[in-house]
Symmetry: C2
Subunit: 300 residues, 2 copies
Amino acid sequence: MSLLVVGSTAYDSIETPDGSREDCLGGSATYFSLAARFFTEVRLVSVVGTDFRDADRKLLESSGIQTLGLETKDGETFRWSGRYHADMNHRDTVSVDLNVFEGYQPFVPTEWRKTPFLFLANGHPEVQASVLAQMEERPHFVVVDTMDLWIDIARDSLLSLLKKVDGIVLNDEEARQITYESNLIKAGQALLELGPRIVLIKKGEHGSFLFSHFFQFALPSYPTEDVADPTGAGDSFAGGFMGFLAGRGRVHLGNLKRAMAFGTVTASINVESFGVDRLAGTEKPEIDSRYQDLLQFIQI
Amino acid sequence: MSLLVVGSTAYDSIETPDGSREDCLGGSATYFSLAARFFTEVRLVSVVGTDFRDADRKLLESSGIQTLGLETKDGETFRWSGRYHADMNHRDTVSVDLNVFEGYQPFVPTEWRKTPFLFLANGHPEVQASVLAQMEERPHFVVVDTMDLWIDIARDSLLSLLKKVDGIVLNDEEARQITYESNLIKAGQALLELGPRIVLIKKGEHGSFLFSHFFQFALPSYPTEDVADPTGAGDSFAGGFMGFLAGRGRVHLGNLKRAMAFGTVTASINVESFGVDRLAGTEKPEIDSRYQDLLQFIQI
């Protein structure tokens, strides 16, 4: 089944212990789409400026991503710049220029308003809610991402949104921040009480947890030796996860577990290069082969 | 097969967000033995002072632990006191009084010198080496634990010991400290180059990694909601791990994976109470039942 994603497209300037790169194609929706497209048709709703490179649009389209919803506005594309510490687990944001992303009100093309799988990438919860409201039919499965900023300044809107979605994906610190629980297992369970039927907590190099009312599941991350650039790890994880579920069409325990493993795989491939290079250059057989390696790595 | 452990016995005074306790029975060899005894005969070599409580000796003996090697010396038992931070992942050592443990030279009883499984709990690498040298036959499987202090002040002795053992168990920071590798997968592989055939890296609430030349394996920790006191988590993990392997008698991939899972289980039970109360009060069926829960929690 098709998968709609709404989020940012950006040009990132990144410095890691491995080197640095200027104006790489990035943004939450980009990483998500490039990870999800291995498994299903991906429909992208986002915004870019007039400086958006033709080559980047072609890269998305030739990867099979539907760009009907990729709007061009007067002005410059969203720019983000960051620097990673030696351990790659921490980063400083050097600068953020929202540019055309500032005040962006996503518009879901009419022909996409019955898409059954929907991912609301990180953004203001009211904007995320406005996307959900545009859907002609309530999608089969809706998942939101969020971040510390919205938990801080838009908690009520976020809590209200959580009552309307099927799942939330967030990192461990954000889970603690929303629930005020330091124990992550308690935080996951407390998140379930806020509305979602599925809570997916990302722990970076330490893997991920899945919570529902009826089961819990944990997965280590893939044993990646060469991390060149962690940017987009969370979004490419979510892309593999949602892409696999949409491709299968049914959300149940078995598919959720496999979806987490595929998300782990797409994230592990993504971090091996700056920007989206590695993810965009990967073919499906490598995804499947790494999935098998991951199973070996975790099965008793 | 039998399992010999050499390490400390202590009285710990512990403060956590859950409360505080004075002079709990503790020490690396104690936690290790109480976790290992579910699976095999455990032989304890350690030292206590004349203040060691009869009740504590009885607790060990009634748990099936062989105490022929538990020496009593004039003076007081080793005392440690620590305080855990709110997240339970960090602690400050408040005081350490080595007492009878200072300068302790472990003596392996003659009748135990052919024990096939040997665990050298955290201690000076030269003292650990002296225990190995006392064995009449080279044991079938020898594993060492270590800590930041020895990596700092006795690196050469530690590196020399690593060439003589089958495995090392240590935490993530220690693995990075020995190898100078910040990526944990590279650190694990670098440790293999130092001699051991098995490297077991403990990551606390984030689970554990196993490295060998021919396979890698990862396991999340058990989803424990109620952590009362993390003291002894690493030693009770090592106890479950070594105990299971000794009980099986054969060290191969399948048993190593299961041993890590049983170590994860014994550690998760241990942290649910102050000191050794929970571990000492547990029966084997609970261990087996939690092992099954853990499999559900991780299997795809």
